[in-house]
């Protein structure tokens, strides 16, 4: 399948030019998901200030879909309160990416799971 047939314009745009990659030193929460067998591993780092996700970055080993999902989930969660961010679902991520091929559905799940894990991690560290 051709990359440009398989993937939406938005997905390809983000894959080629992701803005939110990197690491946050002294992150308040880190979410690590995925496994090397299926070929996608996603790490999300969040910095929280006054219950709001002030900064969010990703590091991802994976296919174009996984990289675009990572970049999108960062944009969606940025500036949101913890409770708002928890409502971000894989469906929303896929929607904002103008759809994902069926085969890559699991990549959108990784985005949701990584975000939720990072939030859990933040809560644990802060005794909440």
């Amino acid at each position: 399948m051709a990359y440009n047939e398989m993937y939406s314009k938005e997905l390809i745009r983000r894959f080629r030019n992701p803005k939110n990659y990197g690491e946050i030193k002294n992150a308040d929460g880190i979410g690590k998901v995925g496994n090397k067998t299926c070929g996608d591993v996603m790490w999300l780092f969040i910095k929280v200030k006054k219950d709001k996700i002030e900064k969010i970055k990703f590091k991802t080993f994976g296919c174009p879909a996984a990289i675009s999902v990572s970049d999108m989930v960062c944009d969606l969660a940025k500036g949101k309160t913890i409770n708002e961010a928890k409502k971000i679902t894989n469906k929303l991520i896929a929607e904002k990416l103008q759809g994902l091929p069926k085969l890559k559905y699991h990549c959108s799940l990784l985005g949701e799971q990584a975000l939720h894990k990072a939030i859990e991690d933040y809560k644990k560290k802060n005794g909440r």
């Binding site: 080629r16 299926c38 070929g39 590091k59 994976g62 990289i67």
Partner: protein, 376 residues
């Protein structure tokens, strides 16, 4: 710039091949089974093509098929059904057409041994010898692997099979015209070939037979020595024959030279990269690399954006979400197998194209490593 480096998947049809084929659609369109002049012309040309292959491979029979997969099925199931029962020896790095044929026979009561390969992807002929049982009916080992390009010692395996009086089949879809194959001299009983890997048309291939009897899989008319029913694909057969006629050693040498330039260039520019397969026993047009810390499909998509066509064995781009069985068989971890990229050249590949790939690949790898948790 557009650079096609996925010739292991398929190749551009040579214009000479197209030219040779065209009259067989509109002028010489007779059915080779018909007795009138139209049919007899077709029969004549069909026989000529068949003779060319017989001589080229030193075979006694050529059965034209729809391609490599059908040839593999016909060879393996054709022998199995002829014998009725027994044991088959194959390897863990076969093409899916061989692997799935063997699995299907297993379900029907045949037994199959899948031999391990070493880290370069080589089958040890001694392992073949050791695996042979009293009821072994067939050994099937790929001549040159489609993913990692490793060329097997088919002559040695053929020798063992002859001594033990066992039928030997090889899938030579990638190897044909790039590696010498002489069925009589090398004791190979069945050889699968395909046209579209050698600048011929899609949908045509052949199974060459030397001193073996098979049962046909497609029932119907008496075509192809009653071993494959159906009106012969004459334009395809003519195209396949022409594709073979125009192959030459000069093209092989040229591909080898550019392959080595690309491998050496990549090693000079990029760290933490490994060549999969054998450096020496390698197809003239195959490069398979493992880039540590990044995923193959992502590399492929960035290359595609630059106009460069490649392929990867990564799990994420396969329907099963499992990395390639070949890369696993040569001992790669899941993560490494998912970071592999295959570049396959053709006679049309130019030095300029190789330079263009070298100019672009480094930046892509660097960028993907920057965003990877395992970035190096």
């Amino acid at each position: 710039m557009k650079v096609y480096l996925d010739n292991g998947a398929t190749t551009q049809v040579d214009e000479k091949v197209v030219k040779k084929m065209l009259p067989y659609f509109t002028e010489k369109y007779g059915n080779a089974s018909s007795l009138h002049s139209f049919g007899q012309q077709a029969k004549l040309d069909l026989d000529e093509a068949r003779n060319l292959f017989r001589k080229k491979l030193n075979a006694d029979k050529i059965i034209f098929t729809s391609g490599g997969s059908e040839s593999d099925n016909l060879a393996i199931k054709g022998i199995a059904y002829k014998k009725g029962k027994g044991h088959i020896i194959t390897s863990k790095i076969e093409h899916h057409a061989v692997e799935e044929s063997c699995k299907s026979l297993e379900k029907q009561g045949f037994q199959v041994t899948y031999l391990d390969v070493d880290k370069e992807g080589l089958v040890n002929p001694k392992d073949v010898e050791k695996a042979i049982r009293k009821d072994t009916i067939l050994v099937t080992i790929i001549a040159a692997n489609n993913e990692i390009g490793t060329i097997q010692d088919i002559e040695e395996i053929g020798k063992i099979c002859k001594e033990k009086n066992i039928i030997f089949h090889t899938d030579a879809v990638q190897a044909f015209t790039k590696v010498p194959i002489d069925m009589k001299k090398m004791n190979i009983n069945l050889v699968s070939i395909s046209a579209h890997k050698i600048h011929g048309p899609k949908g045509i291939g052949a199974l060459a037979i030397y001193n073996a009897e098979i049962k046909r899989l497609i029932d119907g008319g008496p075509q192809e020595f009653e071993l494959r029913a159906g009106t012969e694909n004459i334009p395809g057969i003519i195209g396949l024959a022409e594709a073979v006629k125009i192959t030459n050693d000069k093209d092989v040498k040229q591909m080898e030279k550019l392959r080595d330039k690309l491998i050496e260039g990549i090693f000079k520019k990029i760290d933490n990269v490994k060549l999969n397969g054998s450096r020496k026993k390698r197809l003239c047009n195959n490069i398979n690399l493992c880039f540590k810390g990044i995923e193959g499909e992502a590399i492929g998509a960035h290359l595609d954006a630059k106009g460069i066509a490649s392929s990867s064995g990564s799990a994420c781009s396969s329907k099963s979400l499992k990395p390639s069985h070949v890369l696993k068989a040569i001992g790669l971890s899941d993560a490494d197998a998912n970071g592999c990229l295959r570049l396959t050249l053709s006679k049309y590949t130019t030095e300029k194209e190789i330079d263009y790939v070298l100019d672009n690949l480094e930046g892509i790898i660097k960028f993907l490593r920057r965003i990877s948790p395992y970035g190096l």
